[in-house]
């Protein structure tokens, strides 16, 4: 009898110990768009500094890759939150996916074009004429550049378009003048490399010419928002706090240390330059609150995709953008 009583009490103790801890933390998966690097400094920092734990969330931040798609993972239940670019979101909505955008990370699209200063600076869109412009066929840059051509009334034969992929050889060999890069990652590396060879560069930024194509944003499923609004709010507040902290110059050394642990690619100097570039894209002004959703930019993005026949019909993007206070 005593033995049974002892076993029962032991079991009760274990159970009671477990239950509160289960109630205290919720296990979530957060799928990023690309590999761990400085572009996702805020996501890494939020995880490393325990921002999620502080609100009772146990979040596994998983890096992305060409094969992994956060929207697919949301639908299949492999992820609870994710990062996707606006074109991915709009395409998914066009095909009936039930997702919502809860924050816009990049206020300025990092998708820009790099070119050498030995050619005149592109001050107006007409200056693109006669240039050899690199485009990733099927990629966002193709959509953006086509919009630019349409906006500027540039006919296809007035420019040379070269299909590009991952290696920069045609740009290094000066076969292609204007090369698509992510301003805050490859852009930094290329600029640095060319500087060592005594060459300087400009960056062509479509948003300077009124072409705003929204980039990476935080998403979740409509069901998640509907059934667990408190978890969504907690997750987002922790994430955005993490980003604010990561973008604060005062925390730069700490942020770089956290990113270095995950980023196998760049060296310290490059990483620091990339962080600076990322900062200007995520939080272009001190007053800007990270995660603010730019509705006009989203609408413009949807229009661009409709015009380029990337989607069959309007998706009414405004109804899927949820600005959580």
């Amino acid at each position: 009898m005593r033995k049974i009583m002892f076993m029962f009490l032991l079991f009760l103790w274990v159970f009671l110990s477990a239950v509160p801890s289960f109630a205290r933390t919720t296990q979530l998966n957060y799928r990023l768009k690309w590999l761990f690097n400085t572009s996702v400094a805020g996501d890494i920092y939020a995880d490393a500094k325990g921002f999620f734990n502080d609100v009772g969330l146990n979040v596994t931040v998983k890096e992305g890759s060409p094969e992994k798609n956060a929207i697919n993972e949301l639908e299949l239940g492999h992820a609870d939150f994710g990062v996707a670019s606006a074109d991915q979101v709009i395409r998914a909505l066009d095909k009936g996916a039930k997702i919502v955008v809860i924050a816009q990370l990049f206020q300025v699209n990092p998708m820009q074009w790099i070119y050498r200063t030995d050619k005149p600076e592109i001050k107006t869109l007409q200056d693109l004429k006669g240039r050899n412009i690199g485009i990733t066929f099927g990629g966002n840059d193709e959509t953006i550049m086509n919009t630019i051509f349409a906006k500027a009334g540039i006919a296809r034969q007035e420019v040379t378009i070269t299909g590009v992929r991952f290696d920069f050889t045609p740009f290094f060999k000066k076969k292609v003048d204007v090369w698509p890069v992510y301003r805050n990652s490859q852009g930094v590396i290329l600029k640095d490399k060319l500087a060592k060879a005594g060459e300087d560069v400009y960056f062509f930024n479509p948003s300077d010419f009124g072409v705003n194509f929204v980039a990476n944003s935080v998403i979740t499923s409509a069901d998640m928002l509907k059934n667990n609004p408190d978890i969504v709010e907690k997750f987002l507040s922790a994430l955005l706090n993490g980003w604010e902290a990561a973008m604060d110059p005062a925390n730069e050394a700490d942020v770089l240390k956290a990113v270095k642990q995950k980023d196998k690619e760049a060296n310290d100097e490059i990483r620091q330059k990339q962080l600076n570039a990322t900062r200007s894209l995520i939080k272009p002004s001190a007053a800007m609150k990270i995660g603010t959703i730019d509705l006009p930019a989203w609408t413009q993005t949807e229009q661009m995709m409709l015009k380029e026949r990337q989607i069959k019909k309007p998706v009414n993007i405004g109804s899927c953008l949820i600005q959580i206070k």
Binding site: P66, E67, N69, I71, N72, E75, L76, Q88, R91, A92, K95, G96, A97, K98, T136, F137, G138, G139, G163, R165, F166, D167, T169, Q310
Partner: protein, 255 residues
């Protein structure tokens, strides 16, 4: 043989796609994750012509690559058939290299040689070269004692006759390995294009992947399957015709 290949492929494809749709229905997935029937049909209507020419483009590279590798494999296989040191060296090298995933070299080849026809041709021929070489080496290095004996003892044996005897006696094996290397060449070319080219169906699949457009990928897979089934069917039919022209099965008509 040709029709059998085609309807075999159609059965496999239909089963696979039905399985996908079962998962779609079961998990209530949107068209973004798994496209529905109408979306696949609509997409097929949009990209069919473009993908057809892409597949033909890829197939032509694969066929040429395979032809090149056949010529090369026979040349090297015939030269290396003796058990001299060069013959052994060729055998060992072929055994080791054939285990290596040649498509992993695709990015390097494209970086060095740029986009275009030649690097795709190189990848296609490298993919099927080593297995072909090993088969040819094995065949050419194995004497057919019962036939060769007369020519050897009467001093009539020449290397051309020796090669002809050994090739003829192993015609079945040769046609099988050539037919099999067709799939290898096609698969390798597609993967090479996927990784690093700017033309062909592999490249089109990569673009579809960028856009997370599974409908386009399914259409591309269908096109690839149909065309490769036809190609293999043609190869097998040619092989059978060649075999029946050059040999009559044992136990033929007794006179």
């Amino acid at each position: 043989m040709l029709f059998r290949r085609i309807y075999q492929f159609l059965i496999v494809y239909s089963v696979a796609i039905a399985f996908l749709w079962m998962i779609k229905m079961g998990l209530s997935l949107s068209d973004y994750v798994i496209p529905g029937f109408s979306l696949v049909v609509e997409t097929a209507g949009q990209v069919f012509k473009e993908y057809f020419f892409d597949v033909i483009n890829t197939l032509s590279v694969a066929v040429l690559g395979q032809a090149l590798s056949i010529v090369l494999a026979f040349t090297v296989g015939i030269s290396g058939r003796k058990s001299s040191w060069i013959g052994s060296f060729i055998k060992v090298t072929a055994y080791n290299i054939q285990a290596y995933p040649i498509v992993a070299l695709a990015p390097i080849i494209f970086i060095l040689l740029g986009d275009g026809f030649i690097p795709r041709l190189m990848i296609a021929s490298m993919i099927c070269y080593f297995p072909l070489l090993l088969s040819v080496l094995g065949i050419m290095a194995t004497p057919v004692e019962n036939i060769e004996h007369f020519y050897i003892v009467t001093g009539r044996m020449r290397w051309q006759l020796e090669v002809k005897i050994r090739a003829f006696e192993n015609l079945s094996k040769l046609t099988t390995v050539i037919s099999g290397s067709a799939t290898l060449a096609m698969a390798g070319t597609i993967v090479g294009e996927f990784i690093a080219a700017n033309a062909g169906i592999g490249y089109s699949i990569r673009i579809a992947l960028y856009q997370s457009d599974l409908a386009k990928i399914l259409v591309a897979l269908f096109m690839i399957g149909i065309i490769i089934s036809i190609y293999q069917g043609i190869l097998e039919t040619l092989g059978e015709q060649m075999k029946s022209k050059w040999s009559i099965s044992n136990g033929g008509e007794v006179l």
